[in-house]
Structure formats: structure tokens, C-alpha cells
Amino acid sequence: MDQPNVTTTVLGADEIILNMGPQHPSTHGVLRVKLKLDGEKVTGSECIIGYLHRGVEKIGENRTYPQFAPYVDRTDYVAAVSNGLGYCEAVEKLLGAEAPPRARWVRTILTELQRIASHLLWLGTHALDIGAITPVFYTFREREEILKIFEKYCGARLTTHAFRIGGLLYETYDGFEEEVKAFCRDFEKKVVEYEELLTENRIWVQRTRNVGILTPQDAIDMGATGPVLRGSGIRWDIRKAFPYAAYDQFQFDIPIGERGDTYDRYLVRMEEMRQSRRIVLQAVESIPEGPILARVGKVIKPPPGEVYHSIEAPKGELGYYIVSDGTTQPYRLRIRPPSFINLEAFDKMVRGHLVADVVAIIGTLDIVLGEVDR
């Protein structure tokens, strides 16, 4: 509401406007931020986005349901598996179909691995932004292991198109379970390694404690979801609130923060990686046998109607709102992007901080511009 338009706001005698981005390495893509500064202090901000806008929703209206599935991988391109899960489940809901148990288990495993991979990428780059060079080498080492599993499973590392409407196209490869288990076994120690580098590191704590505080009331008002919401102390996760895939079968905890600052969000994501590992281990021990693809027919033609389905993507609530008019193409396809809406809280978080903290706050929101701009 009090969104300032810094370009039109009258500047004080000591105030200047500083442009950050779109070609700034710490903005994680092509985000441009206009900052109103009083000395080093930020007194207002405005995000300028859309540099990566490709009209994904319009494309969706001009493709059949299966044709559009690869496009969703390119919204949040560091968590393609999660996007695919959300889309496929939304269309299944629209059809009134359900994926067979085996498919739901494998989907859960891959999606949780993707969450770990996405959080690892976030951790490495976030630490790099703040000045800690080492973690990025560690995290990319483990992320590579996950990407190798994806590659063996479906042939692609990033834009995977791993799932199909109705289940899976591919069976798991020989040795899938063992590789996943081996990864989980090693990963427990790796998280400890990252924590040793950062959690009690004095510079890290000073750069993140009390920076970018988002109160629980603001978090709800600004529509924040995912680790940003949980960092503010609200224990809410779609995996628990509206379980999908096979999440109702497994035990896991929802970590929350206390103060809602950058450090809390860091701790929440670290714990989430541990919990994801827990889910993967439970799931990989109990994959049921059976078919992997439900019979949805070759031509996907949902009955007229509409559906909103959302999943807990690594960044927050990723929702698909699809309106069907009974043809093979969606009449309207809306993607509810977590990054876009989380970024809205940026102005609230950044005011009163120093220019150097802006980088920490962009990092802690964990945005992907492909998803912000769509």
C-alpha cells in the first residue's frame, strides 16, 4: 500500500537514487532494483521486473495439456522437477485421475531431491553474495550428485520433464534405490560441514542476524510462502496442510524461525534439507510395486471446469489454476509463482538497512527470475 514510487517521490537534500541491476551478479538474474538512499541507508525501493518475460501463460493457452508440460520446467529452472509435479497433479485433478502409488512414491523422492538441490544452489550463492567463497564449492559438489541421479533417470539434468500427466513415463533405472540411499547416507555429514562453515561463523551471523526482518503479520499480508513464511515463525507447509503425492505417508517436521530475519531463514532451509533427506530415505525404502502410469487416454481432454492445485515448491507455494472448456487446450492457465509474490515483501524488508544488506536480502528471498517474470 505504501509502495513508494521512488522515481516520483521527492528526494531529500541528502538522498540519491541508485540503480542495482539488471546486470548485477548478486541479483540472481535480471532483477533491477531502484534504491533510494540516504548515505548508505536504504529509505525506499522499487523492483523492476519483466526482463525475462516470455508469456508462458499465453503459450499455455495455445498448447495441448501434454505439450505444455516441458514449458513449466523453464519457469523455476533450478527446480524443474517440482514445477512438473505441480502441473501434472493439477491436470490430473482436472481430469479426475490419480497417479498410481508407485508413481507417487517416485515423484516424492525426486521432488525432495530437487528441493535439496535447489536449497544447495541457494546456500552456495547466498553465501557467495555475502562474501563466503567456500560453501559454493561444497554445495555444488552435492548438487552434482543429485543432478546425476536425474540424468540417469530421465536423461536431463536441469529441465527434466520427469513426470507425465497420470504418472511417470520411465521406470526407475537399475540401482536407483541404492544410489539414492548412498546419497542420503553421505549427505547427513555434508550438511554438518556446511553448518560448520557458517552457523557459528561470526561474520556470517553479523551479516544475517536482524537483517531483513519480516514479521509474521507482514509475511501473511504480503502473501509470503515457503521458507520465507516459515522463517517468520508460521508453521505452515502445503505438504502437511493439503498433502499431495505421497507425503501423507511419511514422517517429517516443519522447521520455523523465531525472529524472521535472514539468519532464521538460513536455519529453516538448512533444517529443511535434513527433513527432505528424511522423507527420501523413508520413501526409497517403501516404493510399492505396480504400474507407473494411470490410464488417462492418449488425448487429454478434461471435462469443463476449473481447478487450483498447489504444491510446496522449494521457493514456496507453486499453484496452477487451470480452466478447461472441454477441449484439448487449457482455456486459461495461470501459474501462481512463489518467487514473484515473495519478492513483493522485499521493500518491507529492505528499508532502514545498508546497501550491502540489500544483497543479503535478495539472496534470502531465494528468487528465480525465470519464475518471477514467467
Binding site: M1, D2, Q3, N5, I49, G50, H53, G55, E57, K58, L94, L95, G96, A97, E98, P100, E171, T172, Y173, D174, D218, I220, D221, M222, G223, I234, W236, A241, G290, P291, I292, L293, A294, R295, V296, G297, K298, V299, I300, K301, P302, P303, P304, G305, E306, V307, Y308, S310, E317, G319, Y321, Y331, R332, R334, R336, F340, I341, E344, D373, R374
Partner: protein, 201 residues
């Protein structure tokens, strides 16, 4: 390892493609979602809304287990405030629109609400022509979402503090998610204007 899919679960075999009227006949077997045909919804919340807002509350339906209520645009803001403050729908998940080109009013503004205390979703639909009251005073989230909606559909949100384009450049012509916005025509227009030739194809 390839699974032959011998054991089929009781699924609506070719529900979508096969029969002529799938909505009525096929959807009985599937276990999870209710019949994909929307059915009327009548619960306490809807009754309270009707009692309070009378004729402004239109059709209430349950589509695939999701509650949908149609609200007239003139009472939309009041209804949102009521839903937030008294019914505890404290979270605006999403705000978007659908262009029903041939209908009147042409657009439907869609608000996806969520309530943390009730763990419940509710979808509001407001049929509008090209102007709609802004709900930014109720939920802060609506700011960017309404800007995006304006950008894509050209719906003016009255009372929005800074309604301007968000994803597209300010000088962009037209609103891309409108059904009468032709992607190819836009390319041709650009080519004519900037290259001075008839077509780039």
C-alpha cells in the same frame, strides 16, 4: 524393468476422450476427486454471505472439491473485508482473471483465498467489464497481483495505489492475455513499424 501395466486400477478408462457426455457418466469410478461436474454448494459460510450481501452473492458451486462463490463487483471490496476480518480468510493466495470473450461482463476476476485458522480455501469470482475495485487495502499481496492483472488483461483496479504495467514495458501496446490478442499479428505490426516491410515471415 519396464512395467507392462497389466494391472489396471479401476480408473475411468477413457473418461475424457471416449464417451460423448463424460461429465455425467464416466466420473463415478475415480476414487479421489468428486465428479468433475460442478455441483451447487450450500454451507454455513455461503448462507452467512447471502444473509449479509444478499443479491450480490451469486452462484456458489463446488467444483472438484473446491468452493467457488460468485460476487458482484459492487460489493466485492466489502465482501473481501468481511471474509478477512470475520471469516478469517487472512491470506490472499492468488489474484488473476479469465477472459470470457463472448460473455457479458467479459472478464472474471478470480481471488484465491486461504484461511490459516480454518485450513480452507475459497475462490471468489467477480464478473467485471474492464474495471474492478482494488483489494489492496485488504491484503497487501494484491498490489503486484493487480498490477499483473492490469498488465495482462487491461482490467483497471479502482483505488490501486500505483496501477501500472509490471512485467511488460510501459510502452507496450495491448494486453496479451486477452483472447483477442493475436501473437502473430503483434509480430507483424512490429515488423511493419520498425523494418518498413510487409511481413517478417
Amino acid at each position: 524393468m519396464m512395467d507392462e501395466q497389466k494391472k489396471e486400477e479401476p480408473k475411468p478408462a477413457e473418461a475424457p476422450a471416449g464417451e460423448a457426455k463424460p461429465a455425467a457418466a464416466a466420473p463415478k469410478p475415480p476414487a479421489k476427486p468428486a465428479g468433475p461436474a460442478p455441483e451447487p454448494l450450500e454451507n454455513d459460510l455461503v448462507r452467512r454471505l447471502r444473509a449479509r450481501f444478499g443479491a450480490a452473492v451469486g452462484e456458489a458451486t463446488l467444483d472438484r472439491k473446491q468452493a467457488i462463490v460468485v460476487i458482484g463487483r459492487e460489493r466485492l471490496l466489502d465482501a473481501c473485508r468481511y471474509l478477512k476480518e470475520e471469516e478469517k480468510f487472512d491470506f490472499l493466495t492468488d489474484l488473476t482473471a479469465v477472459d470470457w470473450l463472448t460473455r457479458s461482463p467479459r472478464f472474471a476476476v478470480i481471488l484465491n483465498l486461504y484461511s490459516f485458522p480454518r485450513n480452507e480455501r475459497l475462490r471468489l469470482k467477480a464478473p467485471v467489464d474492464d474495471a474492478c475495485p482494488s483489494v489492496t487495502s485488504v491484503w497487501g499481496t494484491a498490489d503486484w497481483l493487480e498490477r499483473e492483472c492490469f498488465d495482462m488483461f487491461g482490467i483497471v483496479f479502482e483505488g490501486h495505489p500505483g496501477l501500472k504495467r509490471i512485467l511488460l514495458p510501459d510502452e507496450w501496446k495491448g494486453h496479451p492475455l486477452r483472447k483477442d490478442y493475436d501473437i502473430l499479428k503483434q509480430d507483424t505490426d512490429w515488423v511493419r513499424e520498425n523494418l518498413g516491410i510487409e511481413s517478417g515471415q
